[in-house]
Amino acid sequence: MTSPSPIITVSGLSKTYSTGFSALKSVDLEIRRGEIFALLGPNGAGKTTLISIICGLVKPSAGTVLADGHDIQRDYRAARSTIGLVPQELTTDAFETVWSTVSFSRGLFGKPKNPAFIERILKELSLWDKKDTQIRRLSGGMKRRVLIAKALAHEPRILFLDEPTAGVDVELRQDMWQMVRRLRDGGVTIILTTHYIEEAEEMADRIGVISKGEIILVEDKAELMRKLGKKQLSLQLQQPIAALPAALSGFDLSLSPAGDEIVYTYDTQAERTGITTLLQGLGEAGIRFRDLSTSQSSLEDIFVSLVKERA
């Protein structure tokens, strides 16, 4: 899936707003051709600023961006022609019809008319029966799809989705994810920002974590889950104990304040998890348990711990 030249190359990109707020601090980032890249970060981390610079809405203070080899400032026409942007806010021309607003977008990006292509987009987004409806008469979810249709109208190779499922119901979210996968299968590189970890976990091939204007991590999703994926074994005890047995000090154990639960944190990737030895040791110490459960850290836990580490 990866090819030698990245489709987007961000180098030393910084943005300081006139208020003095430093939204991006020398960001370097490469997006691979054909991947789904999730940019994950809390509100105010710089996700939208980064996207806005790449798409031409915000001027960078320093640094460069290449989109499919074209400098976004020097060669903005070629760069922008390759990019489609779905903004976070539902900003639409309320009185336009779906058909006219999507056709307008195609013209704005300098593409010749192609009604058959627009028909295909509208059908794929389940908007075909609404094509002559004024946008103000559509539901929020439909408006979001109109924005996606507008972004796709000029056949971009790169699609930015800024918080695509914010305020979108569960069903539509599933539809959206499927549509994003179909686009990727069609060769479109997709960059989405989200603060829903679930979304990144579900969708992305790679994940970048941004916090306070810095990219603090870029990793294959699977690798990230593996690397930081810790598992925990919780043991509910029959009788509370005052302290952990000294014989088990080699294990990463913690005892709940009430003394009725022991939590063992282990690495699933390690050669031995140590569970057998631990359970034997507990048995020898005369500790009996009522119940046990294991849990694996989600991307959310990973994310929270990463952001905390940096704070």
Partner: protein
């Protein structure tokens, strides 16, 4: 949903005339959607001027240099509509996308600033010229008209509509609220238009005010425009044309600066 040709098209694009056409059509379509506001209302208010000033009051006034008063005010009234409508059309056209946020699309599109200006300003100027011609036609029902220099009349129509559409575009970008959008048209342009000689020849003013009035740019527009109708002018035709071109270039210069610096459009 992508094609192999898109990159080639993009790299080969030197001019994005399709974008100019898209913006122009979009803006013109807005007019036909709101005909009451765009056409009927300005035509009605001008017709009222004809009835009040041309019919009721004008019948008791002397003709000015041989032109009946009702006919004398026609060029001025058309100019006033042209000014105010050009400003209103263009300022609203660019302010509204800023207000709703839809401007993101224009900013992210492969469109040069001057292409956007041609689209928006071209549409605003087309609308107000169309309106000017409708008012001219309306006037023929109320007063006897003659147009001695039709080519010059059209030139003034085009130059004025373009200049004030550019000016409106600047206002629309500068404005960050509906009040600011209105304040210059209401507090500056309307007084200048009224005092620009729509309803009188500046020769009718006391000498001191004749001098003051020469600082009013609208005087040059109305004078030149009226000359193209009746061969009468308050200032010479050359000065009128020169001043009009000067304001045109000034507006283009300011817009160029706005887009180079990203003023009020890009952070």
């Amino acid at each position: 949903m992508t094609t192999a040709t898109s990159q080639r098209d993009a790299a080969g694009m030197r001019l994005n005339l399709r974008a100019v056409a898209a913006i122009y059509r979009f803006e013109m379509a807005r007019t036909w959607r709101t005909p009451l506001q765009s056409i009927v209302s300005p035509v009605l208010s001008t017709a009222l001027y004809f009835i009040v000033f041309g019919g009721a009051i004008g019948s008791r006034m002397q003709s000015i240099e041989g032109v009946p008063y009702g006919a004398f005010i026609v060029p001025g009234l058309i100019m006033m509509s042209l000014l105010t409508q050009s400003i209103a059309n263009a300022s609203f056209a660019i302010y509204f996308p800023k207000f709703t946020g839809t401007i993101y699309e224009l900013l992210s599109a492969p469109v040069a600033w001057w292409e956007a200006v041609i689209g928006y300003v071209g549409a605003a100027a087309s609308k107000s010229m169309l309106l000017g011609l409708i008012i001219l036609l309306t006037a023929t029902f109320f007063v006897p008209l003659r147009i001695e220099h039709p080519a010059m009349m059209l030139l003034f129509l085009v130059l004025t509509a373009t200049t004030f559409s550019l000016f409106g575009f600047i206002i629309g970008i500068w404005a960050d609220g509906f009040e600011k959008l209105q304040v210059i048209p209401l507090l500056i342009v309307t007084p200048l238009a009224f005092l620009g000689g729509s309803f009188y020849s500046i020769a009718m003013l006391p000498p001191f005010w004749q001098k003051v009035t020469l600082f009013n740019p609208v005087v040059y527009l109305i004078s030149g425009f009226r000359w193209s109708f009746y061969g009468l002018a308050d200032v010479s035709l050359g000065v009128s044309l020169g001043m009009t071109l000067f304001f045109l270039l000034l507006c283009i210069g300011i817009i160029g600066w706005i887009f180079r610096t990203g003023y009020r459009l890009k952070n």
